[in-house]
Subunit: 445 residues, 2 copies
Amino acid sequence: MNKFRKILALSASLAASASLHAAPVPADAYSIVADLTTEVGQRLAGTDREAAARDWAVARLKALGFAKVHVETFPIPGWERGEEKAMITAPVPQKLAVTALGHSGATPAGGVSGELVYFPTLDALKSAPDGSLKGKIAFVDHAFKPAQDGAGYGPFGQPRRIGPIIAAQKGAAALLIRSAGTDHTRDPHTGVTNAPKDGAPLPAGAVSGTDADLVARLAAKGQVMRVAVTLTPRFTGTVTSGNVIADLPGKDPSLAPILVGCHLDSWDLGTGAIDDASGCAIVTAAALQASKDGQLARSIRVLWAGSEEIGGFGGQDYAKVHAKEPHALVMESDSGADRVYATEMAFAPADKVLADKLAAALAQMGITQSLGHPEGGEDVGYTAVSQKTAVIDLKQDATRYFDWHHTPSDTLERIDPVQLQQNVDAWALVLKILGNETKAITKLP
Amino acid sequence: MNKFRKILALSASLAASASLHAAPVPADAYSIVADLTTEVGQRLAGTDREAAARDWAVARLKALGFAKVHVETFPIPGWERGEEKAMITAPVPQKLAVTALGHSGATPAGGVSGELVYFPTLDALKSAPDGSLKGKIAFVDHAFKPAQDGAGYGPFGQPRRIGPIIAAQKGAAALLIRSAGTDHTRDPHTGVTNAPKDGAPLPAGAVSGTDADLVARLAAKGQVMRVAVTLTPRFTGTVTSGNVIADLPGKDPSLAPILVGCHLDSWDLGTGAIDDASGCAIVTAAALQASKDGQLARSIRVLWAGSEEIGGFGGQDYAKVHAKEPHALVMESDSGADRVYATEMAFAPADKVLADKLAAALAQMGITQSLGHPEGGEDVGYTAVSQKTAVIDLKQDATRYFDWHHTPSDTLERIDPVQLQQNVDAWALVLKILGNETKAITKLP
């Protein structure tokens, strides 16, 4: 096509788009992240900021040409952050940068103070006799090193998830942990804790990597350490969260749709750029990019889930509400904005040809196949399990992700636009192949 | 010398050192930074933490074998940080990471709120008519890019230094600025402001680079912005600061000493590792390293100055108290812990041979000569000017320095031990040549 004919064709296509109310328009993933983080900001689950984010999402998805854009609400336990202070008072006064862990209990308004008992690992805390930390404050220091696959988050996230329950068993008045992060800045990392079986949760906070280094150096000197901690978060009762759902209808409504998920809620310390505005931007821009040369055969449904951070409530609600609707395959983006380096696929043996076609296409982008078991994530994983759908994970480089995850620094500045677009390109490639697959995709065995 | 004889000689030298109470012992610069930041922490001028740092310094310098270790106190205006909060309230609620600038005035306890008026530069603020910001809060956004020589700190530090005075002239209720820093983290940068000629200083704070980016993006949308600011620092009256001074006596007391300076005080947000525990560690370790093969001809005096951050009070007091004592040459380390890349020297023409010898020795380490005019700094510069001494600056790579300068992240983690030791090696090389120069060093013209 020569230049002139190209311009004519483009004009015609623009005119056609303008005349169709709901024609999909190209989306720039970076703009979605920039606008959501700037025009809404933090979107803590169950707050009015998450509600504002849903309004924003509905408007944006409609403007981008998605169909059936709507919100499905559900109840969640509300929790809001209060005052956050911690200070070593002996052997030397040193302020600690601290944040309350999600669903942490509260200290009295004036805080608690007591001897700090240093545990180098969660196992060391587990080994302490029950009741031995009466009136004391436990500190768990557990290393977590950067890795492409973010492998440390499972084991080294455990002090955050179950540490408060264990410290309570030992009688501690509060728990402080080294943030479940890989950085050495002054940013503490928040994140949800498991609920105790009975009773109120222990006040529990995370200090920054730098502050944990300081605690470790002081502990190594062998002197008695004391610490004062004030954390005043509160549970706000049952509040409303919600999922935002939007479709790009396929030409053949008899084909089960592909579900692509991310989460709209964020922690409240930063503006949730890498967790998970970028995921929503990637799946949305990719769905549009896959369709830009013409309507796909199969529908793509976009799920911007609510309340992922505090326990996957949005993904659970979606799976329940849409249990009777068939889904062909699920995918999720929730590991930041850095490049896709590998894929993991779960297809029934009957779909080997399709799987091989996808792998070959991704290999052209330098994306390898990994042999792990893909699970989607909190937003689409419940649907995958209950409906036994096929699953594709596009694994993102997480080397930097846990430097910023759940911190005040999770902001637009962390987004590398080139790597973000590489995600969109990889996703669009996959969605175009899947979207034009007119053979039914088989359930997993 | 063969290996066995070398071991014998080493043993003899260690025995000799142990038997002499005040024999200089080798110092590891990293240990000085680690111990000062861990065992004392922040050392805000005029507070009991600066006093604790002086006690620590006296003990450490004595333990390292310095002579005449003593403190010289002087009065300063005390100032302490209070509550620090800022939040954009319109067109969208967004929390800002803010810190009060040094010697900032205070808002009422409940804060001030008003329209945010965005100025892309300090010149734009200067151009606003007097009184035009009545009841409003000025925001000055002024870029500052990293550079090896830290050149941006002069011009782009001006919104911090004089911005509050100018904003007050325009009638503003408070001033917020983009931090005078080169990073895009959530860390705000504090730093001292110039005192107004009359009246109380304006409440003035700096927001982090990330938050300034957000303000700029919102301002670009053209909607009215509102902001709420609470800053409650207070002046605490006249308080005591002090210099710590220690000598490594030379063999020839008739030779004027070399003065090597740094500052002991720090801002209160971090633990002052790069500003300026590293400077004190460098000059101290270097003086000992220069003397390790035998006493120098000329004395080296180490000055760990107090109250540098809030206006160079320590350097001024030293120059006044020691005005009658001759000094041969001054040097200062106060640009972090990264490598020395160039030197600037101010010698009288009579000392060209010495200057050339120093330049040739530094060139062996890959350190070039730069043609700027060396000034020392706040700690030794007053002495240099009043006594017209020779001056040597060993210029440090400041590319990363203004990422962390005056922030909560100025902690031990910012120190690269290899680069820190390169500083010590360069300084020791210079001090050994100067210390063994038995010809008088001429005053500057």
